[in-house]
Amino acid sequence: MKILVCISNVPDTTTKIKFLNNNTTFDSAGVQWIINPWDELALTRAIELKEAHAGAVSEITVVNVGLPTTEPTIRKALAIGADKAIRVNLDPKDAYTVALQLSEIIKKDSFDIILCGIESSDYNGTSVGGMLSELLDFPSVSAVSFIDIEGDQLKLKREIDGGQEIIGISTPFIGIVQKGIAKDARIPNMRGIMMAKTKPLQVVEPVSADLYTDFVSFDYPKAKASCKKVDPDNVKELVNLLHNEAKVI
């Protein structure tokens, strides 16, 4: 089996978000870029599967749609343990463009398990995995918090309100993963970092696409009115405010 992990390159989760040019472009000055947290967990689980089922999983590829500036992030994925990488040379403008480019990659090469994160922490599209499944007409399962291989079948856990479902599915399939899929993301070790330098990173030119959506500008959320402080010796006052002023209890 071959596994493909789709990785998105996003600002570090602590980044203060700022925009330039009348709030039309993201200000990347001083921003640290990371592998989208869910994608990093997906990659970790893919590596665990390869280790646990050495015969069954032959290769792990990571793919990113992005400009050359995303290569450090891709190299990090290789250092964590992916075998090879593909970069589609395009600035991803919306989820549809990304999904379309990914579908072209998957049509050219056959993958059995394709993993996407539930959302990328920049555009918060929660879209690419689902769009990709429909473009390829592959089955998809979303909110996946566990995956394992059982013979030629896969066993998954899907999070539902108040619980989980255990699901069986055969390949090829697209898993849209969330928290739980791996405990902690793997941290690359020295050997991994050295090896990553020589692992193959193939650059592919994009196919052209019509955009259905256009992110024209950004705004900052409304600032909160300042916090009303209540004396710790007067907890009753807090209850009074919540009841009479905020009217929430």
Binding site: A95, I118, T126, F218, K224, K229, P232, L238
Partner: protein, 323 residues
């Protein structure tokens, strides 16, 4: 032309979220001079389906195909896309929840429709069709133009609210064309907690962080939640340490919630935590550090010891409830 809403049910019942979607679609339909149709998939009785009329749905397509009793992304997509074609729907509305996230993107490809996900209100313009969505884990908002003829929206929870628009819903049986071979997922087992208020549904959430010191101190949080009819939650380290179950973890990598009231006891207010709770209508923080970032997100705050404040809060609320 119409607006189509995916009216999701949970064990045969609709939830507040479903009614919020219908209310929202009704407002859209007024601006666009059209009507709201809903599609329900699964086993839901007529009395429940009629409730969709209360919020403004004038038609309900009722899919009772027993092969669709559990969620299968592809076949649900087929059913909804066929309903959209039948109703000539120009806008299809989903909730930004697990099911909406799973299906809306698939439907968007099938219908060649632009998708705006995590939308927080009505369009700011209809020509061009412009709508506001959350981005950067709620740290920014984006103005998105959807250019396609058919458009798909997933609405953030509690972004619009519930509005009654009493109409009679005409319930119509609908049988989408689906072949057995289209169904690829088999649900082997379902494990559900019952009798507990779910985090995503709760109007009030009582949450604790590492400042609570240890799992033995959660009794107060549980009791407070119980008297308020609230759900309990926690920060990530608390669930990582195993003090509480992972189900309760809120934040960027956990659950994203928007209750009316969120209590944060001993939570520092890290940006990743705020990403999951900042849409709450009212946030109350109790933290012994006056400089804790949680106070920047909070509406009300107490600088003090949570372990001392919680029992006093319980007593004060009991007193309020008694009067």
């Amino acid at each position: 032309m119409s607006i189509l809403v995916f009216a999701e049910n949970w064990d045969g019942k609709f939830k507040k979220q479903t009614f919020e979607l219908i209310s929202y679609a009704h407002a859209l339909s007024k601006s666009m001079n059209t009507t709201v149709s809903a599609i329900s998939i699964g086993k839901v009785d007529d009395e429940e389906l009629n409730k969709l009329g209360t919020y403004g749905a004038s038609k309900v397509l009722n899919v009772t195909d027993c092969r669709l009793y559990t969620l299968d992304n592809k076949t649900f997509t087929m059913a909804i896309a066929q309903a959209a074609a039948k109703e000539n729907s120009k806008i299809i509305v989903f909730a930004q929840n697990n099911t909406g996230k799973a299906i809306a993107p698939r439907v968007s490809i099938r219908l060649k429709a632009g998708l705006a996900s995590g939308v927080i209100g009505l369009p700011t313009s209809y020509e061009p069709f412009t709508i506001v969505k959350k981005t950067y884990t709620s740290k920014a908002l984006a103005n998105v133009i959807v250019k396609s003829d058919v458009k798909i929206i997933t609405l953030s929870q509690n972004a619009y609210g519930i509005v009654e628009n009493p109409t009679t819903a005409n319930i119509e049986h609908f049988s989408p064309e689906i072949a057995d071979t289209d169904i690829k997922t088999t649900v082997i087992e379902v494990n559900k907690i019952t009798g507990k208020i779910l985090l995503n549904d709760a109007e009030i959430v009582v949450s604790g962080g590492r400042g609570m010191k240890g799992p033995e101190n959660w009794g107060g949080i549980e009791e407070l939640a119980q008297i308020l009819g609230a759900a309990t939650a926690c920060s990530r380290p608390v669930s990582d340490e195993g003090w509480r179950t992972h189900e309760e973890h809120t934040g960027q990598t956990g659950k994203i919630i928007a209750p009316n009231l969120y209590f944060a006891f001993g939570i520092s207010g890290a940006i990743q935590h705020l990403g999951g709770i900042s849409s709450s209508k009212c946030i109350v923080a109790v933290n012994k550090d006056p400089d804790a970032p949680i106070f920047e997100a909070a509406d009300y705050g107490i600088v003090g010891d949570a372990l001392k404040v919680i029992p006093e809060l319980i007593a004060a609320i009991k007193e309020l409830k008694a009067n």
